[in-house]
C-alpha cells in the first residue's frame, strides 16, 4: 500500500506538487498522466525517496520512505534520465543492484537479458537510447521488488518491446501482486494496462479514478427531436457539455447509462445515440474545464 499524504514540494518559486494526496492499493497498475511540468516525475521521486517533500509524507507499507533503507528495499524506480556507472556492462550493473536489493533474482536477470536480446558483457555506454531503457527495465524487473515505478519508460520503446514489457508487468502483478506506477503523457500507453488513472495538473491531483468507472459513468449522447427544443429540456440530466446544431444536440452526461437511455427514449426522439467516452475524451474535457487546451486537435467532432 502506498500512501501519499498532502505532499507539497517546490523548487525555489516553482511549486511542483501542491497538496497531493493519494492511496494506491496493492496489485494495482496506476497510470499517471499530465502535461509537461505537471509534477509527475517529482511525485515519483518523492515516493521513491529521492526528494524529501517540503510538507506531507510518503509511506510505503506504513514506512516513511525518505532516508529509510527498509522502505527503499521494496521499491525500484526507473527514472526518465537513466544513470549507469561509467563504462559499466549489464553484468556489472546487476552486481550493483544485487548488492542493494536482497531479493535480486539472477536467474530472472539471465532470462530477461536473453529475452530482450541484450549482451550483458557489452558496455552499456555503447547501447542505443532504447536499449539503455531496456537495460534499466531488465534490472528493475530482476530486483523482484513489490513496488515498481516507471517514469515515461514506455515512451522510448518500439511497439514490440513495449508489448513485451507490458506482458512482463502483467505477469508480475498477477503472480506476485506487485504494484506498479507508470507515468506517460500518452494516454494510449496507459489505457490497456492500467486499472487506475490519475491526472496531474500544475502540481495538483485533478482526477484519480478507477479506469472502469471513468469509462462507464460518463457517455456521449446524440439526440434529435422533431419539434424545437433547447438545453432546458434536459434539466433532469447531469450534463457537463452541451452543443446543439439545428435539431440535433450533442451532450456529455454523467450518470447511470441504462437509466438515462430509458429517460431519453421516453421523450420520443427521432434519433438517439449513446456512446461511451474514450479515455482521451474524458481527459480532454477534464483538462479543458481547467482551462487547459489539451491538444485541440483531439477535439471530438465525430
Amino acid at each position: 500500500m502506498i500512501n501519499a499524504e498532502a505532499i507539497h514540494k517546490s523548487f525555489e518559486d516553482f511549486t511542483a506538487l501542491d497538496n497531493v494526496t493519494c492511496n494506491i492499493s496493492d496489485g494495482c497498475i496506476y497510470g499517471m498522466v499530465g502535461s509537461n511540468g505537471a509534477g509527475k516525475s517529482t511525485f515519483l521521486r518523492v515516493l521513491s525517496g529521492v526528494y524529501k517533500p517540503d510538507k506531507g509524507y510518503a509511506f510505503i507499507d506504513g514506512l516513511n520512505v525518505y532516508e529509510n533503507p527498509k522502505a527503499k528495499q521494496k521499491i525500484v524506480f526507473v527514472a526518465d534520465d537513466l544513470y549507469f556507472l561509467p563504462g559499466a556492462t549489464l553484468n556489472k550493473m546487476a552486481k550493483l543492484y544485487a548488492s542493494a536489493y536482497d531479493r535480486f533474482d539472477w536467474a530472472r536477470f539471465k532470462e530477461l537479458t536473453k529475452l530482450f536480446g541484450l549482451d550483458p558483457k557489452k558496455s552499456i555506454s555503447n547501447f542505443s537510447k532504447g536499449m539503455k531503457r531496456q537495460a534499466a527495465i531488465i534490472l528493475a524487473l530482476s530486483t523482484r521488488t513489490k513496488y515498481m515505478f516507471f517514469d515515461e519508460t514506455f515512451d522510448g520503446l518500439d511497439p514490440v518491446m513495449r508489448n513485451l514489457v507490458k506482458k512482463l508487468i502483467c505477469n508480475d502483478v498477477a503472480e506476485l501482486n506487485s504494484t506498479v506506477i507508470v507515468t506517460s503523457h500518452s494516454l494510449r500507453e496507459l489505457e490497456d494496462i492500467c486499472d487506475h488513472l490519475a491526472l496531474l495538473h500544475k502540481g495538483g491531483m485533478v482526477l484519480d479514478s478507477d479506469v472502469l468507472e471513468l469509462k462507464t459513468s460518463q457517455f456521449k449522447v446524440q439526440v434529435a427531436f422533431r419539434e424545437n427544443f433547447d438545453k432546458s429540456r434536459f434539466e433532469q440530466f447531469n450534463i457537463t457539455r452541451y452543443r446543439q446544431e439545428g435539431s440535433v444536440a450533442n451532450m456529455i452526461i454523467n450518470g447511470d447509462r441504462e437509466e438515462t437511455v430509458a429517460l431519453f427514449k421516453a421523450m420520443n426522439p427521432l434519433v438517439l445515440d449513446v456512446l461511451p467516452l474514450t479515455l482521451e475524451e474524458v481527459f480532454t474535457y477534464e483538462m479543458e474545464s481547467l482551462g487547459y487546451e489539451f491538444e485541440s486537435a483531439l477535439e471530438v467532432e465525430k
Partner: protein, 124 residues
C-alpha cells in the same frame, strides 16, 4: 481465444463478457469447458489482470461460469439458458429495426425473405 480492442469505446471487461456470451451461444464454449486463467489471459493480451478478474467476477455473478478456487473457471450448465434469456430482450431492438426498414420503404416480403435466409444459414 479472446480478442480485445483497447482503442474501442467499449470497456475491455465488457468486451470479454460479450465474447464469452457469443462463444457460449455459438457452441464454441460448452458446459464444463475451462476458461484460461486470469494470469495467462492477462499476459497473453497484455491487459491488466485486475480488469480480467473483474470480467470473470461479473460472469460468475451472472452464473455463466463457475469459479472453483484453486481449479479455475468453468462454463456453467446454466450458461446457455442465461445468455438465451438476454437474447430474448433483443427482440425489442429487432422491432425497432423493422420499423426503421418499413419507414425506409423496405417491403414486408423482403424482410421476411431475409429472416428466412438467416435461418436457413444458421443451424438452430
Amino acid at each position: 481465444m479472446f480478442v480485445v480492442d483497447v482503442m474501442s469505446r467499449v470497456p475491455v471487461y465488457e468486451q470479454i463478457i460479450k465474447q464469452v456470451e457469443e462463444q457460449v451461444l455459438t457452441g464454441i464454449l460448452k458446459e464444463g469447458d475451462k476458461l484460461p486463467s486470469v494470469r495467462s489471459l492477462s499476459v497473453k493480451l497484455s491487459i491488466n489482470p485486475n480488469t480480467i478478474q473483474k470480467a470473470y467476477t461479473e460472469l460468475d455473478r451472472r452464473q455463466l461460469i463457475i469459479t472453483v478456487p484453486g481449479k479455475g473457471s468453468f462454463i456453467s450448465e446454466k450458461a446457455i439458458e442465461v445468455v438465451g434469456a438476454n437474447s430474448r430482450e433483443k427482440m425489442t431492438e429487432l422491432n425497432k429495426i423493422i420499423r426503421e426498414l418499413a419507414l425506409a420503404g423496405v417491403t414486408k416480403e423482403e424482410i421476411i425473405n431475409n429472416i428466412e435466409e438467416v435461418f436457413n444459414n444458421t443451424e438452430v
